[in-house]
C-alpha cells in the first residue's frame, strides 16, 4: 500500500445546500382557568392555526397545565430547549415570542467577535516570510 485513505466524516453546513429549520417542536402549555393564561388561550384560538399552517416544519403540542403560568417551549434539533414564560402577555406579544423561538438555532447564546466563521482553508493562504517578496513590518 503506497497510500492509505484516512476515514473522516463530512461536516454539516446547514443552509449551504438544503436548509433545515432548527426548531422542531413548540410546546404550548396553558392553564385552563388562570387569568395569566388568557393571552395564550386567545393565541391558540386565533393566531396559532395560521402560524402552524405557515410553518409545517414545526410540530405543535398544545396541552393544559393546571395551576401553572403559561409557557411556550421550543425544542431544537441539537437537543436543547428554550422555554419562555408568557404570563399576562397579549396574543401579539406571544406571537413575537413564538417567532423568536422559531428563528432561534437552539444554541446557547454566546458572544462572538468575528462575524464570519469558516470551515474552508484560506483562499490566498497564510502569509509566510519564506514565500513571495520581502517586506518590512
Amino acid at each position: 500500500m503506497t497510500v492509505q485513505g484516512l476515514r473522516t466524516v463530512t461536516s454539516a453546513q446547514n443552509g449551504a445546500g438544503a436548509f433545515i429549520l432548527q426548531c422542531k417542536r413548540l410546546d404550548l402549555h396553558y392553564n385552563l382557568q388562570g387569568a395569566s393564561s388568557h393571552g395564550l388561550r386567545t393565541f391558540v384560538q386565533t393566531l396559532l392555526p395560521k402560524f402552524a399552517r405557515q410553518y409545517p416544519q414545526i410540530e405543535f403540542r398544545v396541552s393544559p397545565t393546571p395551576k401553572k403560568h403559561p409557557v411556550v417551549r421550543g425544542h431544537y434539533i441539537n437537543g436543547r430547549e428554550k422555554p419562555i414564560c408568557v404570563r399576562n402577555m397579549q396574543p401579539n406579544e406571544i406571537l413575537k415570542k413564538v417567532i423568536l423561538l422559531k428563528e432561534a438555532s437552539g444554541e446557547k447564546n454566546r458572544r462572538q467577535s468575528k462575524p464570519v466563521r469558516s470551515l474552508n482553508e484560506s483562499v490566498r493562504g497564510i502569509w509566510s516570510p519564506y514565500h513571495g517578496d520581502l517586506r518590512g513590518v
Partner: protein, 257 residues
C-alpha cells in the same frame, strides 16, 4: 427617494398589466443583463436596496411547492391583528424593486482576457459590502451580521450585489469602489437569528445610592453563504455585455505593487 417611488410605481404597473412579458419573450439586451433577478417574481422578493434576493434556478426542494415558505397569493391579505413578519405580508406597492440597469454591462478588453484565468482557479472569495462593512466570504461560511436584518426570515435567500473585490489565489477582480453586480453572484441564506447573552451595565450617579441597571440583549441575523461565483466570459456576452477599449488613463495591467 423620488426615483425609487417612481420605479416602484413603474414596477407595480408592470405587474398589473403584463407580468409575463418581461420574464418571457424577447428580452432586449438591457433586460437580459439582469441575470436571474430579472424575472418579476424575483424582483418582488427583494429584501432591500442593498440586497436583492432571488431564488436560484433550481429551488431547494424537489418541487417548487415545498420550497416556498410563503403562502399563495390569495392568502396574503392579513387580518387586522396579524403582524407582518415576512415579505409575503407586505403589499406589492411597498416592496423594493429590482435594480433597473440603464445600459448594458461594459467590460474592458483586458478584463475579458483575464477573466478565464480567474474563473479557472477555484476556490473564490468575495469581499462583500453590507452597510459599507466588508465581509470576506467563501462558499459555506457562517456569517453572523452585527445587526438584526429587518424583513427577513429564516430560509430566505439573499443575493449580495455589492462587493469591493472578488478573487482566487492569484487573481483579484477589483472594482472602484465596487464591482459591477452583473459580473458575479454571491448568495446567502438566512438561517435564523441569534442573540448575545444578556449584558447588564450598572450606572451610578454621585451621592446617590440608587444603581441603575441597563440591560441589553442584541439580536443578530445569522446567514450561510450558498455560492460565490464569478461569471464566465461566455455568460457575460450572452447576457449582453459590451466590450470596450480601456480608457486612456488606465494602464493595461497593474502588476503587484
Amino acid at each position: 427617494m423620488f426615483s425609487r417611488s417612481v420605479l416602484r410605481r413603474f414596477a407595480s404597473d408592470l405587474r398589473m398589466s403584463a407580468p409575463s412579458t418581461i420574464s418571457g419573450a424577447a428580452p432586449h439586451p438591457q433586460r437580459a443583463c439582469l441575470h436571474q433577478t430579472a424575472s418579476l417574481k424575483a424582483s418582488q422578493e427583494q429584501a432591500s436596496s442593498q440586497l436583492s434576493s432571488s431564488k436560484p434556478e433550481s429551488p431547494l426542494s424537489a418541487t417548487p411547492r415545498a420550497q416556498t415558505s410563503q403562502p399563495t397569493t390569495n392568502q396574503r391579505t392579513p387580518p387586522n391583528n396579524f403582524i407582518p413578519q415576512n415579505r409575503s405580508h407586505t403589499p406589492d406597492e411597498k416592496r423594493p424593486v429590482a435594480p433597473e440597469f440603464k445600459e448594458p454591462l461594459k467590460v474592458t478588453r483586458s478584463l475579458m482576457e483575464r477573466l478565464p484565468h480567474l474563473v479557472g482557479q477555484a476556490p473564490h472569495y468575495v469581499v462583500a459590502k453590507l452597510h459599507d462593512k466588508p465581509y470576506l466570504l467563501t462558499p459555506g461560511d457562517h456569517v453572523r451580521l452585527p445587526f438584526l436584518m429587518p424583513k427577513v426570515q429564516s430560509g430566505d435567500i439573499l443575493r449580495f450585489n455589492r462587493a469591493s473585490a472578488l478573487g482566487s489565489r492569484d487573481f483579484t477582480l477589483k472594482g472602484n469602489p465596487h464591482i459591477d453586480e452583473r459580473l458575479f453572484e454571491c448568495r446567502v441564506r438566512v438561517t435564523g437569528t441569534d442573540a448575545e447573552p444578556l449584558r447588564i451595565k450598572e450606572k451610578t450617579k454621585r451621592r446617590q445610592r440608587h444603581v441603575q441597571q441597563i440591560r441589553s440583549k442584541e439580536r443578530y441575523t445569522v446567514m450561510r453563504v450558498m455560492e460565490v461565483r464569478v461569471k464566465t466570459p461566455e455568460e457575460l456576452l450572452q447576457e449582453g455585455a459590451v466590450i470596450v477599449e480601456e480608457g486612456e488613463d488606465s494602464p493595461a495591467i497593474e502588476a503587484k505593487a
